[in-house]
Symmetry: C2
Subunit: 430 residues, 2 copies
C-alpha cells in the first residue's frame, strides 16, 4: 500500500537525501556550483525579469505600497548584485572539515572535533527575492541542502530564481534536491515545514514579528530567530567628546532601519552638560526626534533658550520608550550617574544585540565589557559594525540574539554543527 | 499595587540577579565555593542522611521498587563520592573568559570572541539525589546560576543537598540565589519553569522519555534534550577479528544500561562466517540475547549443530528491533555486503549518538567517518568512550544528540555561550 506523502514533506525528504551527498561534496565542486549559479543568473536574466514582472503586476493590482514594490523589484543591476554576492560566498573559506579542537587522550585514543554541515536548512523569508539566492549560496557552500519558503508576493520571482539555482548546482555536480522551494506560501505549509523533525535540521526565519510568532506557535524543529536590536551607546564621563558625538551620530543615523542601529543614548552626568548640547544639535540637523529624560530635557531647555529652534524636536521619554526598537530616526536619551547605572539600564532594556561604550577610562571599558550581556560589546566604536561582512565572516544569513549555538552574525560556520572523530587500535573501556 | 509573583518565577528572578554577579566571579572564588560545598557535605552528613531516610520511608510506604529505592539511597560512601566529584569539577579549567577566536579587522578594529556563562540554567531530574550537587557544581564552575527541579520521591534529600550547597556557596562569596530548588515536583511547576523566557536561559532534562515529552509540550525556553543512544558497531571485512570481538563485547556488555552501549552489530559478509561464531559464543557467555537477521541465524544454526546449547539465546530480529535502544543485554545482529550498506543502515536507524567501525582498511575507515552523521564516530574503539570524562572535558551534565549548540558530552564549555568584544578608537561605519 502506498503511503501518501505531502508535497512539503516529500520536498524535505528529497533534501535530506541530497544533504547526505552534499556533506561529502568537495569544496571545488561546491564552488563550481556557486559559479554556475552566478553565471546562470546572467544568462537567464530574461526569465528572471519576466517572472518578476508578473509578481509586480499582481502586487500592483493588490494595491501593495511603493516601499514593498521597490523591495520586490528586480532589474539587471540588482540581479548582477545578487550574482556578485554568490561569487563572494564562493570565495570564502569552506567551513566543512575544519578541525575545531583535537588532542590525544591519556589512553592513546586520538580525538578530533570536526566541523560538518547541519544537513537540511529551511529558510522562511518575506518579500525580497534576492534572499532566494543569498540563502541558497550560503547553505550550499556550508554543505547544507536548503528548502526555501518565500512569500506569495514574490512567488514567480522566487520560483524562477530557485529553479535556476537548482539547475545550475545540479549541472555542476551537486545532488538533485540540494535547492528546493516549497510552493505554497500559506500558514499550513509553514506549519508542515516547521514540524519535519529528524528531516529539517534548522529553520531560519527572515521576516517580521508576525512570522516569528507564527513559527514559535508551531515549530518542533530547531529555529534560530533573527534579532531585534535595541542597541545602546553609553558615553562615559571620561569620553573624548568628538569621538562620542561621531559614534552616536553614526550609530543612530548612518542607517536607522537596521537592527544594529542605536535606539538609546546614555550619557554620564559629568559630561552631559558639555556633550548633550552638541549631540542634540547634530541629531536635530540629521532630522532625528529625541525622547529625553528629565535631565536631558533640562539641558535642551537651556539650550533652546540660547539657540532658538535648532533642537525643536524633543519630547519626554516614557518607560516604554526605553524598550523600543524604533528602526527610525528617533532616539531615547538618558543621563546616568555611573557606568554601573548604564550597565543596569542596558541589562534591563537591551535585547542583547550590540552595545557600545565611549570612554578613555580602562576601568569603565572593562566594567562595561564584562557587565553587559550582549552578542557584541563595543569600546569606542559604533554599534553599526555588527555584521558578518564587517566581522570578516563573509556574508551572513541573519543575526542572532539568542545564546545557544549562534550569537551575533550567522555565517557559514554557524550553519554547521560538528562531530567527534575518535581513532584507536582496538581500544575498549575498562 | 503589588504584583503577585509565583514562587517559581520569583526563584528564577532571584537566580537571574545572581547570574549577573556570578558571570563576573573570579575562578578562585568559584573554586573556593565548590570546596566549601564538598566540605559541607561531610560536615552536614547527618542532616543529609536524615533527610534521605525520610524519602526512603515514604518511598517504601508507596511501594516503590528495589531498583528505584537503591538509586534514591544515600550513605556515607555515596556522599563522599559526591564530594569527590565536586572537587574534581573545581580542578577543571574555568571556561569563562577563554578567547575562542580573535583578530584585527581591516579597519583596525580588534575583535575577540570570548566564552561567557549562559546565565540561568534549570536542571530537571528524576530520582538520583546526587544530581543536585553534580549539576550545581558544573553550573557554578561555569558561572551560571542553577535552578533545580527534582522529583517528589527525592524531595527531602534534594532540599537538604540544595540548601547545603547554597549556604556553602554563599558563605564562600557567591551571590544569594546562585543555587535554588523549586519546591513542587508537579507538572504545573515544570510548565512554569519551562516558560520563563528571558529569565531561564537553558533547561536540561535528565530523565526518561515522559519527562522529555512533558517538556516538549510546554517549553518556550531553550531545552537541550539528553540523548537516547541507538549505537552500532560495524565490523568491516578487513577487521582484525580479536579487536572486533573485544570491541563488540565491550560496547555491549561493559555497562549495557547506558546510552553509549551498542545495540546493534553489523558484520561484513566476507568475515561473518569467521567472526560470528566467536562473537555469538562470547555474547552467550556474557548472557546476551541475540536477535539476528537471516544470515546470522543461518550461521548460528550451523554452529548450534556442532556445539550444542552454547548459543541458545538467539531469535529473529524484526524491523522495529533495528531502531530500539535496549539498555539491556540484548543485541541485534545483521550481515551487510559493504561499508556503504552499513553506513546506510546506521543512517536509517541510528540516533546520532556513537557509532564505531572496526577495520584495517583506510578507505573503509574514512568512508565511515565521513558518511555517518553522529556526535561521535569511532575507528577501532568501543562506543563506550563517549563521555565527558573520557574525552578530557571533565564531568558532563548529559550527552546531546542534537546538532545545535552542544553535540556529544555537555561539559563546562557547553554550559557557556560567547560574546564578541570589539575595541576601536572612535571607529564609525562608512
Amino acid at each position: 500500500m502506498a503511503t501518501t506523502v505531502s508535497p512539503v514533506s516529500e520536498t524535505c525528504l528529497t533534501a535530506k537525501r541530497a544533504a547526505r551527498a552534499l556533506a561529502r561534496a568537495d569544496t571545488a565542486v561546491k564552488d563550481a556550483a556557486l559559479e554556475a549559479i552566478a553565471t546562470a543568473l546572467g544568462v537567464r536574466l530574461g526569465e528572471i525579469l519576466a517572472a518578476n514582472e508578473r509578481d509586480l503586476e499582481l502586487a500592483h493590482e493588490a494595491g501593495i505600497g511603493a516601499a514593498l514594490l521597490d523591495r520586490l523589484r528586480l532589474d539587471e543591476l540588482r540581479v548582477a548584485g545578487i550574482a556578485l554576492a554568490v561569487r563572494q560566498i564562493a570565495a570564502l573559506a569552506d567551513p566543512v572539515g575544519e578541525v575545531i579542537d583535537g588532542h590525544r587522550l591519556p589512553n592513546g585514543l586520538d580525538i578530533r572535533k570536526v566541523r560538518v554541515p547541519l544537513g537540511v536548512v529551511a529558510v522562511v523569508y518575506e518579500a525580497r527575492p534576492n534572499v532566494t539566492i543569498d540563502a541558497a549560496a550560503l547553505c550550499l557552500k556550508s554543505g547544507n541542502a536548503i528548502v526555501l519558503r518565500g512569500s506569495s508576493t514574490a512567488m514567480h520571482s522566487n520560483a524562477a530564481l530557485a529553479q535556476i539555482a537548482a539547475e545550475a548546482a545540479v549541472g555542476a555536480g551537486l545532488p538533485e534536491g540540494c535547492v528546493s522551494l516549497v510552493a505554497g506560501g500559506g500558514r499550513e505549509e509553514l506549519a508542515e515545514l516547521a514540524t519535519q523533525q529528524g528531516v529539517v535540521d534548522l529553520i531560519i526565519p527572515r521576516g517580521g514579528e508576525s512570522l516569528k510568532e507564527a513559527l514559535q506557535a508551531v515549530a518542533t524543529v530547531p529555529v534560530i530567530y533573527a534579532a531585534s536590536g535595541n542597541c545602546h551607546v553609553y558615553v562615559d564621563g571620561s569620553a573624548d567628546l568628538d569621538s562620542a558625538e561621531a559614534i552616536v551620530l553614526n550609530a543612530k543615523t548612518q542607517r536607522p532601519g537596521v537592527c544594529n542601529a542605536a535606539e538609546t543614548l546614555l550619557v554620564h552626568e559629568r559630561i552631559a552638560g558639555e556633550l548633550l548640547p552638541r549631540v542634540l544639535r547634530s541629531l536635530a540637523d540629521a532630522g532625528v526626534l529625541v525622547r529625553g529624560d528629565e535631565r536631558t530635557l533640562a539641558i535642551a531647555a537651556e539650550l533652546g533658550a540660547s539657540a532658538q529652534g535648532s533642537i525643536a524636536r524633543i519630547e519626554p521619554v516614557d518607560e516604554e520608550d526605553w524598550g523600543r526598537e524604533y528602526l527610525a530616526p528617533i532616539i531615547a536619551i538618558g543621563v546616568v550617574d555611573s557606568v554601573e547605572q548604564a550597565i543596569e539600564h542596558v541589562g534591563r532594556y537591551g535585547s542583547g544585540h550590540s552595545e557600545a561604550i565611549v570612554t578613555r577610562d580602562t576601568a569603565a571599558a572593562r566594567a562595561f565589557q564584562l557587565g553587559v550581556d550582549a552578542a557584541c560589546v563595543y569600546v569606542n566604536a559604533s554599534t553599526r559594525f555588527t555584521d558578518g561582512g564587517e566581522f570578516g565572516m563573509g556574508a551572513e544569513i541573519g543575526n542572532s540574539t539568542q545564546k545557544l549555538h549562534a550569537r551575533g552574525p550567522i555565517g557559514l560556520r554557524e550553519l554547521c554543527t560538528f562531530k567527534y572523530l575518535i581513532e584507536g587500535d582496538g581500544h575498549v573501556r575498562a
